[in-house]
Amino acid sequence: MADARFARRLPERPLSPHLQIYRFTWTMAMSIAHRVSGAAAYFAAPLLVLWLLAAAQGPEAYATLSGIYGSWFGIIVLIGVSWAVIHHSIGGVRHMVWDATIGMDRRSRTLWAQGTLAGSVLLTALVWLAVLIWS
């Protein structure tokens, strides 16, 4: 940021572009989503640890934890976490494919980015359908 004292002396120059300047592209959106989902999974890691610890602790602790995880709030959080993990995993596969220099042309890379979102939503829905049927 230019100092206020020099504001009158400096001509108007373009600032370096940031997010709001760029045209939306799918690869850009999925790049951001990959980082966000990774960070979400990072902060959700204690949920897995708590599950294991409660199971190790005993029936009472596990019942308490099941009550929290099985509440409507817990289920909403777990749906979000599962979506983040699945999205990040598919994003990883996408990067694996791109690392092999496959699907680098404009059409394929957009398809891969769109497929990451569609696939993650679909797989998350399937996982929760399986939970619903199983339990």
Binding site: Y42, L48, M96, D99, V127, W134
Partner: protein, 126 residues
């Protein structure tokens, strides 16, 4: 005696610093995590809604506990590398950066250690 300049000797041999190793470790952990994550999701779906005795007995099985062990430790390295990339991008003040980097390492390995402890307890059944 070598007459070539020091720069000419190292040109084309890659970075002298740890960036490439970090990248390689990130790739390695992400490849390893793919099957392990599939296993974890399958396990959680299969165990959802079960009572404690079934859960504890299943998690204590070697063929369940071992993949979970792998998951927990590979995941800790992956978590640490991923979050440090985010910290390097967004945290610039020296103090906050140091704190964030340290906190990231503590968090990543503390969660892994806690999970490993739980898995050991479930496996040995103390």
């Amino acid at each position: 005696m070598v007459v070539r300049s020091r720069f000419a000797q190292v040109r084309g041999h890659g970075s002298a610093r740890s960036g490439a190793a970090e990248h390689w470790r990130m790739k390695l952990t992400s490849y390893a995590l793919l099957p392990l994550t599939l296993f974890l999701i399958g396990l959680v779906v299969a165990l959802a809604g079960e009572e404690h005795p079934t859960i504890a007995a299943t998690l204590g099985q070697p063929y369940v506990a071992l993949p979970l062990f792998f998951f927990v430790f590979v995941n800790a390295v992956h978590m640490r590398l991923g979050m440090s990339e985010i910290i390097e991008d967004y945290v610039h003040s020296k103090l906050w950066k140091t704190a964030a980097v340290a906190g990231n390492i503590f968090f990543s390995y503390a969660t892994a250690a806690a999970a490993a402890f739980a898995l050991l307890k479930l496996s040995i059944g103390v």
